[in-house]
C-alpha cells in the first residue's frame, strides 16, 4: 500500500486532505459527488490533538465532590448486612448510598430502544440489593471532598456476606446440578416458559428445511466444537459519570456515553423519575465499542448528589472497568456442516451457547442471525442459548455475538474446503449468499456486496503473493475468513441552521466516537453544495435535539446521515423560497444544483443567498427526523499471513489485509480506520486477550499489563480495501462499517495457524501455551 501526500499550502492547510489509499479501493457505486468520498480534516480534530477536547473525566463544576464505589470481593454471596455508619462519620465524607436508596425496582421488562431488559436486574446491577453475583458488583458508594477520602470511607463500610458457590465457567453453569444463580428464573425455550429452573435462561431456534436429513446428501461432513473466552472492549477512557440532582428535582448528567438518550432513559427508569427530569449532556467519549451504552455510574452519581446537594463525579479504575462493566461473552459453539464433492453446502447446523454473566440477556440472538448469513444453503438449523455465570453482566462488543460464532463456523468452512481440495475463497464464492438468498430466520438478503468482497479478496496482491521464507524454528501459514453483520437503523434527529455568511450549523444527538461529526456534516454539505468545512457540527444534550439512538450497530453515518440529508433538503427548499423573493419569481421556478440557485438568467450561490435571509423572512432552520428501515448488511473478509514459532508457540502477524463492503465510504480515511481498528482488536482477541478467572470467580489479570491489548509493536500495517456496493436504502449508498470488520479476524488467524502447523485451534485465545498444546 502506498501513501501519497498532497500537502496543501496557505490558509486552508489545516482543513485539507491527504493519505489517499483510493487506488486500492473498489468503487462500484456511481455518484457525482463533491464532498462525499473526500478526506477533509475532521471538525473536532484540533481540539483532540491539543488536549482541549472535554471528555467525561474532564468535567469540572463548582463544589464538585468525588465518589468511589465499594465492590464485592465475592463472585457469589448473599448480603447479610451493610453498616455505613463509620464511613459517614469520616471527615470529608458528604454522602453514602446503597441499594436501599434506590426505589424498589419492579420485576418488569423495559424497552430502551436498544437493549433494555428487566428493570429489577438493571437496578440490582447498579447497586446490589440482596445478593452479589460477581466479583466487583457494586454494593455501596461514597462521595467525599476527594477520591482518597472516598476510598478510605469505602474501607470503613462493613458488609457481612454469606458466601455462595461461584459458577464461573459456562460449561459448569449448564451442567446438571449446577448452582442456580437466579433460582427464581425459569428457562424460556422457543417462545414458551418451560418452568425449568436453570442457568440457561433463553433458548431460541431458527430452522429452514431439514438439515438432519440433508446431511445424507453430503460427501464431506465436518463437525467440531469451539470455545471462546470473555474479553473486554478495552476502551482506553475509563467509565465515568458526573451528576447533579438539583433541589428542584432536575437531574443533570455529564458522562462519556455512546448515547445520551440511553443514559437519560435508563437512569430515569432506575431512579424512578420521569425522563423530563433528566438532562444528559454527552461529553467526548474515549472509546466504547458497545461497552458505553449501558449505565453503571450515572444513577449512583445522581443518588450521591441528591444526598450531598452537590455535583458528584465517579471514575472507575482500570480494574473496576474490567470487573464491573459489561464485557463480551465467552462462548461454546458446536458446528456441523456438510458439502457435496462439487463443493455445495447442503446442510448446516450450529448450537451456540453464550454466557450473559450475572443477569439474563446475551448475544446469542445476533449470533444466530449472522452465522449462516454468508452462505446459501437450503437446510439449516441454529439454536442459541443464553447462560448465566458469576461474572459481570455482558454487554455489546462490536458485532455482538457474531465474532464468536464466526470463529467456529469459518474454521469449519476452511476445513471443508481443505477436504474438498478447493481454494478457500473459491469454496466461499461457490456458496456465497447474494441478493435474494434466504436467511435462516426467514427474510431474503437485500442487495449485498458479499461476492464483490470475495472477488476483491481473491484477486488481492496479498493473496497472490508467495508466503516467503520462514525464520529458523518457525512455520508460516496463510488464512482467510469471511463474515457478516446486519447493521441497524433506528431513530435520529438533526437540525441545520443557516448563518448569514453562508456557513451552516448542524446539531445532532449522535455522540462522535470516531469521526462521525465529519461523516454526517459531509452528507449535509453534499446536499447543500457547500464545503465540509462550511458545516459546523455539534453534538448536543437531550434537551436540545430530538431523540437519537445510540452510536452503535454501525448505524450513525447511515441513520444520522439520513437525518442530516433530510434537514439539508429542508434548508434547500426554504432557501429556494427566499431566493425566489429576491428575484420576484415563483419558488418552483428556482432550481438548485451543486451550491447554486438558478431561475432563468438569474444565478446565485448558496453563500450569496445566505446574505439575504435576514431581509427575506429571518432565520432558516431545517430539521430531519428519521427512523429508517433501509439499513443494509455488510460483508468483510480477512487475509492474514502468520509466522508460528514452533519452539515458543508465539504467533506473529506478518501481513494483514481486510476487505469490506461499505456501501459508500463518506470519509474513506475513517472507514479505513474502522477496518484497521477492528483488525487490531481481532488480533488481540485471537492471540492474547482473555478474562483469566480462577475457580472462585476472581479475575487475575485486571491491569492493562496483564490483559494484553495489542500494542503498535504487535501488529503490522493493515491493508484495507473498501468495496462500495451501494445500499439502496440510503441516497449515497451508506451501509455502516464499524462491525462487520471484527467478525472474521479470529477465524482468519486460526486458519492461518492451521495452515502453518496443521492444527485446528478450537479455543481462544491462541496464545503460546495454546499453540504448543
Amino acid at each position: 500500500m502506498t501513501t501519497t501526500i498532497d500537502r496543501p499550502t496557505g490558509e486552508n492547510a489545516a482543513t485539507r486532505v491527504i493519505s489517499a489509499n483510493d487506488g486500492a479501493n473498489i468503487i462500484i457505486s456511481h455518484g457525482d459527488y463533491n464532498v462525499v468520498g473526500t478526506r477533509p480534516v475532521r471538525h473536532d480534530g484540533v481540539d483532540k490533538v491539543t488536549g482541549r477536547a472535554t471528555y467525561g473525566g474532564d468535567t469540572r463544576l463548582n463544589g464538585l465532590l468525588f465518589g468511589k464505589v465499594l465492590r464485592s470481593p465475592h463472585a457469589h454471596a448473599r448480603i447479610v448486612s451493610i453498616d455505613t455508619s463509620k464511613a459517614r462519620a469520616l471527615d470529608g465524607v458528604h454522602a453514602v448510598v446503597t441499594a436501599a436508596d434506590l426505589p424498589t425496582a419492579e420485576d418488569r421488562e423495559v424497552d430502551l430502544g436498544e437493549g433494555g431488559g428487566n428493570l429489577k436486574h438493571m437496578s440490582d446491577n447498579i447497586l446490589a440489593s440482596d445478593k452479589v453475583l460477581y466479583k466487583g458488583h457494586a454494593v455501596a458508594a461514597v462521595a467525599a471532598v476527594n477520591v482518597h477520602v472516598a476510598e478510605a470511607a469505602c474501607k470503613l463500610i462493613e458488609v457481612v456476606y454469606e458466601a455462595l458457590p461461584a459458577v464461573v465457567d459456562l460449561k459448569d453453569a449448564i451442567a446438571p446440578g449446577a448452582t442456580l444463580i437466579h433460582p427464581e428464573i425459569t428457562r424460556k425455550s422457543l417462545g414458551k416458559d418451560t418452568g425449568i429452573h436453570s442457568n440457561i435462561t433463553k433458548h431460541a431456534r431458527h430452522q429452514m428445511g431439514d438439515p438432519e436429513a440433508a446431511f445424507a446428501k453430503a460427501d464431506v461432513i465436518v463437525e467440531r466444537d469451539f470455545t471462546t473466552t470473555m474479553v473486554h472492549q478495552g476502551y482506553i477512557e475509563p467509565t465515568n459519570a458526573t451528576a447533579m440532582w438539583n433541589q428542584d428535582g432536575k437531574i443533570t448528567i455529564w458522562s462519556s456515553t455512546q448515547g445520551a438518550f440511553a443514559v437519560r432513559d435508563s437512569t430515569a427508569e432506575i431512579l424512578g423519575v420521569p425522563v423530563s427530569q433528566i438532562k444528559a449532556i454527552p461529553q467526548e467519549i474515549g472509546g466504547g465499542f458497545g461497552g458505553k451504552i449501558n449505565v453503571y455510574l450515572e444513577p449512583v452519581a445522581a443518588l450521591l448528589s441528591r444526598e450531598s446537594g452537590r455535583p458528584v463525579k465517579l471514575i472507575m479504575s482500570r480494574a473496576e472497568v474490567f470487573q464491573a462493566t459489561g464485557p463480551a461473552p465467552g462462548s461454546w459453539s458446536k458446528i456441523k456442516f456438510g458439502a457435496t464433492k462439487a463443493g455445495h453446502l447442503v446442510a448446516m447446523t450450529a448450537d451456540l451457547y453464550m454466557e450473559s454473566g450475572a443477569y439474563p440477556g446475551s448475544d446469542s440472538g445476533a449470533a444466530m442471525l449472522c452465522i449462516f448469513a454468508p452462505y446459501k444453503c437450503d437446510d439449516m438449523r441454529v439454536d442459541g442459548y443464553d447462560v448465566l455465570t458469576n461474572r459481570p453482566k455482558t454487554a455489546p462488543y462490536r458485532a455482538p455475538g457474531a465474532p464468536q460464532a464466526a470463529f467456529a463456523s469459518e474454521q469449519v468452512i476452511d476445513e471443508l474446503a481443505e477436504k474438498l481440495g478447493m481454494d478457500p475463497i473459491e469454496f466461499r464464492l461457490l456458496n456465497a449468499a447474494h441478493e435474494g438468498t434466504r436467511l435462516v430466520q426467514g427474510p431474503l438478503h437485500k442487495k449485498v456486496g458479499g461476492i464483490e468482497v470475495l472477488n476483491a479478496t481473491k484477486t488481492h496482491a496479498h493473496y497472490l503473493a508467495p508466503l516467503g521464507t520462514p525464520s529458523p524454528s518457525t512455520k508460516r501459514g496463510r488464512g482467510v475468513a469471511y463474515g457478516y453483520w446486519f447493521n441497524i437503523g433506528l431513530a435520529s434527529s438533526v437540525s441545520i441552521s443557516v448563518n448569514a455568511d453562508g456557513s451552516v450549523t448542524l446539531i445532532e444527538g449522535s455522540t462522535d466516537i470516531g469521526g462521525s461529526r465529519a461523516s454526517i456534516a459531509m452528507q449535509a454539505a453534499e446536499i447543500l453544495g457547500v464545503r465540509a468545512e462550511d458545516v459546523r457540527p455539534s453534538v448536543v444534550d437531550t434537551d436540545s435535539i430530538g431523540f437519537t439512538g445510540v452510536t452503535g450497530g454501525s448505524r450513525t453515518t447511515f441513520a444520522t446521515g439520513l437525518a442530516a440529508i433530510e434537514a439539508a433538503r429542508s434548508v434547500v427548499v426554504q432557501m429556494k423560497a427566499r431566493v425566489a423573493k429576491v428575484w420576484s419569481v415563483a419558488p418552483d421556478d428556482v432550481s438548485y444544483d451543486h451550491g447554486s440557485f438558478h431561475a432563468g438568467t438569474h444565478s446565485m450561490t448558496f453563500k450569496e443567498a445566505a446574505h439575504h435571509i435576514e431581509d427575506t423572512g429571518g432565520p432558516i432552520t431545517g430539521t430531519g427526523n428519521v427512523d429508517p428501515q433501509g439499513h443494509g448488511g455488510a460483508f468483510a473478509s480477512i487475509i492474514v499471513d502468520v509466522e508460528v514459532d514452533v519452539e515458543t508457540g508465539k504467533t506473529q502477524i506478518l501481513e494483514w489485509t481486510i476487505v469490506q463492503d461499505a456501501g459508500k465510504a463518506i470519509h474513506p480515511s475513517y472507514v479505513e480506520g474502522q477496518l484497521q481498528g477492528a483488525s487490531a482488536q481481532g488480533i488481540g482477541w485471537a492471540l492474547s486477550e482473555e478474562y483469566f478467572m480462577n475457580s472462585k470467580g476472581e479475575m487475575a489479570n485486571t491491569s492493562l499489563l496483564d490483559y494484553r491489548l495489542p500494542t503498535a509493536f504487535d501488529v503490522p500495517m493493515i491493508n484495507t480495501v473498501i468495496v462500495e456496493v451501494p445500499n439502496p436504502g440510503h441516497p449515497f449508498g451508506v451501509r455502516g462499517v464499524g462491525e462487520a470488520s471484527i467478525v472474521p479476524p479470529m477465524a482468519a488467524v486460526a486458519n492461518a495457524i492451521h495452515n502453518a502447523i496443521g492444527v485446528r485451534m478450537q479455543a481462544l485465545p491462541m496464545n503460546p501455551g495454546a499453540v504448543l498444546h
Partner: protein, 169 residues
C-alpha cells in the same frame, strides 16, 4: 526534592516549570502528577487511561524524560521542567505531529492522542528519522484501541519527514 511523608494529607508547596511557565501549587504527598495536573492545575489535556502506568495516555516529559504522570508523585515535580500536551504546539499554530495526526486521520476517539503526540515528540527529538519498526517500538508504551496504529505510525513518520525538511530549509 522535598522530604515528605507520603501518607500525610498536609499539603506541600511544589514549584515547577510547566510548558515554560513557572508554576506553584499545593499538593498532598499522595497525589500523582497526573492528579495534580488535572485536578489542581485544571490541565486536563493529559488523560487518565489506567492510572497504573500501562497505557501511556498520561505521558508528559519531566526533566527531559518521557514519563507516565500517573506513576510520578506531584511532589517529585518540585524543581523540574515539565512539558504536557498543552505545551506541544507553538503559539498560534500546531506542532507538525499534530498536523500530521489531523491530516492522516490518526485518531478516532482521541483519548490516547495527547499521550501519543507527547511520546512521539520525544522520539523525534532523539531520532529524527525513525524507521517503521523504531516508531512501533517507541510507541509500544501507548495503547490505542481504535485505530490499529496504522495511521498513527504513518503520521509520526510523515511528521518526521516534514520536520527534517523544515530543519534543512
Amino acid at each position: 526534592m522535598v522530604a515528605v511523608d507520603a501518607h500525610s494529607t498536609t499539603k506541600v508547596v511544589v514549584e515547577a516549570t510547566i510548558n515554560g511557565e513557572p508554576v506553584q501549587f499545593l499538593a498532598e504527598p499522595r497525589q500523582t502528577l497526573l492528579e495534580c495536573l488535572r485536578d489542581i492545575l485544571s490541565m486536563t489535556g493529559t488523560k487518565e487511561g489506567c492510572s497504573d502506568g500501562n497505557c501511556g495516555a498520561c505521558n508528559v516529559v519531566m526533566g527531559g524524560r518521557l514519563v507516565n504522570s500517573c506513576l510520578v508523585l506531584g511532589v517529585e515535580a518540585n524543581g523540574q521542567s515539565i512539558t504536557t500536551i498543552e505545551g506541544i504546539a507553538p503559539a498560534g499554530g500546531l506542532h507538525p505531529l499534530q498536523t500530521a495526526f489531523l491530516e492522516e486521520a490518526a485518531l478516532q476517539c482521541g483519548i490516547c492522542t495527547p499521550g501519543f503526540i507527547v511520546s512521539a515528540s520525544e522520539l523525534l527529538k532523539h531520532n529524527s528519522h525513525p524507521s517503521e519498526d523504531e516508531v512501533r517500538f517507541w510507541l509500544s508504551g501507548n495503547l490505542c484501541r481504535c485505530t490499529g496504529y496504522d495511521k498513527i505510525v504513518r503520521a509520526v513518520m510523515h511528521a518526521s519527514d516534514i520536520m527534517r525538511v523544515g530543519h534543512q530549509a
